[in-house]
Every structure is written in structure tokens, then in C-alpha cells.
């Protein structure tokens, strides 16, 4: 037993505590999630005090996770967040294709295409069993510029008046194609929140229609 000297184990209690939100923190995060889901592509900010203490992609997951939910949290190279999240929330860890809630922190972002492919979309009889994905990306902007990276999307559908542009540094066209394939059997589908480490957040629920209008190479991870 070398747990006592494992530096990660020592950090665990503080990280578990960081994953516990009080009633007002939970409400504030949920409200941002509700507002972004109601207006796909609209960029809002997560509460500062939350993104200061945990990877921003975990915040929307922790708010919804409890003993009733199965979660799949990707660990980062520096910390086993999965354990911290399940200890704090009581949620059960699950395989990717069985999870209700999936979080991919920005610095744990690999194999994103397969995550979009294998996340569970539910069925027409129970759309509510479709997975929710929270993904950390490098940057989110409302439109592309000359120094952009990643993909530029156009979003149409409920919550969007006409169309809305969105530029995501951290997604590839292959990711978006996998995502669109998983969402091709609406009302089955997955709902996605993208976050940045600065705490910006945007939602793209399954009701949104996505088109890739430009692509750039994704920037190196910082």
C-alpha cells in the first residue's frame, strides 16, 4: 500500500471537495446550461469560482450527476478526475457507450471522433436516454477570423433565429461528421456542451442542424 505517498491520492480529497457545488453554484451553472441549450450556438460564461477550481468541462457534468446517472469522465494527464467526480456526486462510472453523462476535459481530449460515434443516442421511445457530452476545447468564437483554428459551423434549428455561426478551435471536421451521424435519427441523439478553460460555454443540442463551412488546422494544445 503506497497510497499514502501517491501524490495523486493526496490531492484527491481537495479535488473531491472542488467537485461539490452548493445549491446556488449548482443553480448558476444549470441556468447557463439552460440558456445555452435554449439558444444553440450562443456563447455564455460559466461562473468564475467554478472554472477556477475544476476543468470547465466537468462543471456541467457535476451539476447533473448523481447516484441515478452513469458517467464517463476522461482523466487528464495530470489527474484522475473520474474518481473525484464519482466520489463527489455518487454517480456510477460507466463505459463510454453506456454513460448518460460524458466529460472530456480540454487536456484529456483524444479520440474525440470515437466519443461522438459511440456515445449512446437513446431511442425514439426514450430520447431522454441519449447521452450528454461536455467537451473542453481550446477556443470558442462566434465567427472565424484569419487566425482561426478548428472548424467553423453554421447552426440552424430550434432556438436559433435564422442561423448562427460558431467557430470551434478543438474540433475537426471528422468529429463533426461523427457527431452528425450519431444525431441522424432524431429524436434519438446526443446533446453537447463545449467549454473553454476561460469558462466560455456553448450548447449544441440534438435538435440543431450543423453545417461545416470552413476548417483550419487545430492549434497545438497549450
Amino acid at each position: 500500500m503506497n497510497l499514502a505517498i501517491d501524490p495523486e491520492a493526496r490531492r484527491m480529497p481537495a479535488k473531491v471537495a472542488a467537485c461539490r457545488f452548493d445549491a446556488l453554484e449548482s443553480q448558476a451553472i444549470f441556468k447557463v446550461m439552460l440558456d445555452t441549450t435554449s439558444r444553440p450556438g450562443l456563447i455564455l460564461d460559466l461562473p468564475r469560482r467554478i472554472v477556477d477550481r475544476i476543468p470547465s468541462a466537468l462543471a456541467p457534468l457535476v451539476v447533473l450527476a448523481d447516484v441515478e446517472t452513469r458517467v464517463h469522465v476522461i482523466d487528464t494527464p495530470t489527474f484522475a478526475w473520474s474518481e473525484a467526480v464519482t466520489s463527489a456526486t455518487g454517480a456510477r462510472p460507466a463505459q463510454l457507450n453506456k454513460a448518460d453523462l460524458i466529460a472530456v476535459p480540454a487536456d484529456g481530449r483524444e479520440h474525440l471522433t470515437s466519443i461522438f460515434t459511440f456515445a449512446h443516442p437513446g431511442s425514439a421511445f426514450s430520447p431522454e436516454s441519449g447521452a450528454r457530452l461536455m467537451i473542453g476545447v481550446n477556443d470558442i468564437r462566434s465567427h472565424g477570423t484569419s487566425d482561426s483554428a478548428g472548424v467553423e459551423l453554421v447552426i440552424r434549428g430550434p432556438g436559433v433565429e435564422g442561423e448562427r455561426g460558431l467557430c470551434i478551435d478543438g474540433l475537426t471536421e471528422a468529429d463533426v461528421n461523427a457527431w452528425r451521424t450519431t444525431n441522424s435519427r432524431f429524436p434519438a441523439g446526443i446533446d453537447v456542451w463545449l467549454t473553454t478553460e476561460a469558462g466560455r460555454i456553448v450548447a449544441i443540442p440534438r435538435s440543431s442542424r450543423l453545417d461545416v463551412v470552413a476548417t483550419w488546422p487545430t492549434q497545438e494544445r497549450k
Binding site: 449548482s26 432556438g159 429524436p187 443540442p205 440534438r206
Partner: protein
């Protein structure tokens, strides 16, 4: 039993809270966090799948089921310390049920209340949408007694689930057609069935047909809560809400030619009838939205004061 030392330990464990809700004697928003999480998950699915009735583990509320327990659960799951709440029943802020629900929300959150949509962020309602145009700031929470629009054409819940899953609304159309043929008009009154986002048929609670067009491509989010039936559904902003009707049968809202509000003279609001006390007295009409009516009257009396009161 006199136990001062034990009491001391007990007092020490009462958390010191400096939040805006610290003076409350109940959980912020009454519900425990566990319940809120489940309701919140259902709300997010409802918004992501417009018009789909999301099942949820409806909690028993301090109001009877059928008295707005579904709407109340939504309101308490989304309300925050910076919201301002307006509650109406039949359009009236002073309706007995509206008063009761508003008291519960305010006393369990400490947030301010208002009767004016302009000043409100969270509007819970039974049977009406306020006359004032609502916008991005507003979330409209509607209380729903019977969420299933197909109940009149199918009684078996297993079959109802299939019809929604397959978007098989043929029998609904047949029933509307038969109605039209038999009665000359579509006789549906309130809660008129509408197709949301071209996919799901919903019951528009029992709001009058008058209010239905205001759900179509609205600027606000509308959340529908049916506590007894344990269902939540939603119409996000900028979403198509089309009343089911036929090409040659225009959708009709309630209009009574010649009627105007006795209080503010409006002919452009939803009016309700106040019957005469005696046989000879023909009665009169008043606005159902009492706060709008009050402001409309003041605007007419003091045009310089503008819209606010």
C-alpha cells in the same frame, strides 16, 4: 433534558452561510438538491427535443397535484437568487392559486416578485400567456393538467408512446377532419394541439387559442410542467409551433365582435365575460390579463407617463 454542552456542539455544526438566501429556513427553492438535479435533467432534454414529453420523477409539492405542482417544480428547479417572479392564474396576479404559488416561490427563495412582465424574469402561469410581448429575459413556465394531446383518440399508453415515437399522428388528423365535417368548425377550445418543430404534437396546456400564436417562433423559452402526469416538455425560442388545421380551415382565435374591456376599453386583449347579475343585465367583458389592463388604463388616463407604472 438539559444538555448545554451537547447543544453547543450541535450549534457549531449549523453552517455559516453568507449567501443571499442565508436567512431562509428551508432549502433554497424548497426541493432538496437531488430532486432539482433530476428535474433539471428532464428540462434540458425537453429543450433539446422540442415538444417531447420527458418523463420525470415528479415530487410531491406543498400544493395539490393539479394545482400547478409541475410548474412549481420547474420554477423551483430553475430559479436563482437574481430572478424576479411573476405568477398568474387566468391572467390574474391576484388569482387565489397564483397568490399561493407565488408565496411558496418567494418564501423559499427570498427573491422579489412583480406583476409586470417588464420587471420579471420568471413567469409561472396557468391558462394564459401575458398580453405583453415577452423576450429573451423571460422564461415562461406553464402549468399543465393533461399533457397528452392524443388521449382523446387513444387510451392505451403503450400505443400512445408508439404514436409519438413514430410521429404517427394520422388518427389525430382524422379526428380533426371528422370534427370539421360534423360541426362545421374545429371545436377544440383551449389546449389546442400544435405541431412543434415539425415533429411532436403537443397540448398547449389549456391556454386559449388566442395565446397559441404567441408560442410560434417566440423570443422566450416556454417550459411546460405536468406534475401529476409526471411529464415536462418545452418550446425553445424561435421554434415553429403550428396549430393542427387544414389548408382551407384557418386557425381561429376567440373573438366576440363588439366586445371591449369595461375597465380599459381594449379590444385587443383576451377578454373574459362577467355575466350580469340579473336576467335583464347583459353583463360585460374585462381583460383576463389584469396587470396589462391596469397599465393600459393608466396609459390612456396619463399618456405622458409612458408604459411603466
Amino acid at each position: 433534558m438539559n444538555t448545554p454542552l451537547l447543544q453547543q456542539v450541535l450549534d457549531r455544526t449549523t453552517p455559516v452561510d453568507d449567501s443571499p438566501a442565508s436567512h431562509l429556513e428551508v432549502n433554497f427553492g424548497l426541493l432538496d438538491e437531488y430532486s432539482k438535479r433530476e428535474i433539471r435533467r428532464a428540462i434540458l432534454t425537453a429543450v433539446a427535443v422540442p415538444g417531447y414529453q420527458v418523463p420525470f420523477g415528479s415530487r410531491e409539492m406543498p400544493v395539490a397535484r393539479g394545482w400547478g405542482s409541475g410548474g412549481l417544480q420547474i420554477s423551483l428547479a430553475i430559479v436563482g437568487p437574481y430572478d424576479v417572479v411573476k405568477v398568474i392564474d387566468q391572467g390574474d396576479d391576484e388569482g387565489v392559486n397564483a397568490v399561493n404559488l407565488r408565496r411558496l416561490i418567494v418564501s423559499s427563495t427570498g427573491i422579489p416578485e412583480s406583476t409586470t412582465p417588464e420587471d420579471s424574469t420568471l413567469i409561472q402561469t396557468r391558462h394564459r400567456i401575458p398580453e405583453d410581448p415577452l423576450d429573451e429575459r423571460h422564461t415562461l413556465v406553464l402549468q399543465v393538467p393533461v399533457p397528452e394531446p392524443l388521449r382523446g383518440v387513444e387510451r392505451d399508453m403503450r400505443e400512445l408512446a408508439r404514436m409519438h415515437a413514430e410521429a404517427d399522428y394520422a388518427r389525430m388528423w382524422v379526428s380533426l377532419y371528422e370534427d370539421k365535417v360534423r360541426n362545421g368548425v374545429i371545436t377544440r377550445t383551449t389546449g389546442y394541439p400544435c405541431l412543434v418543430n415539425g415533429r411532436y404534437v403537443i397540448a398547449t396546456t389549456p391556454i386559449p387559442r388566442w395565446d397559441v400564436p404567441r408560442l410560434h417562433r417566440s423570443r422566450f423559452l416556454a417550459l411546460f410542467g405536468a406534475g401529476r402526469e409526471k411529464r415536462i416538455y418545452a418550446v425553445p425560442p424561435h421554434t415553429d409551433v403550428e396549430p393542427l388545421t387544414f389548408e382551407d380551415v384557418p386557425f381561429e382565435v376567440e373573438v366576440t365582435p363588439g366586445a371591449s374591456c369595461r375597465t380599459c376599453s381594449s379590444t385587443e386583449s383576451f377578454l373574459v365575460e362577467i355575466p350580469g347579475a340579473t336576467a335583464g343585465d347583459g353583463g360585460h367583458w374585462v381583460c383576463s390579463d389584469s396587470d396589462w389592463c391596469r397599465r393600459n388604463r393608466e396609459r390612456l388616463q396619463h399618456p405622458s407617463r409612458g408604459d411603466r407604472s
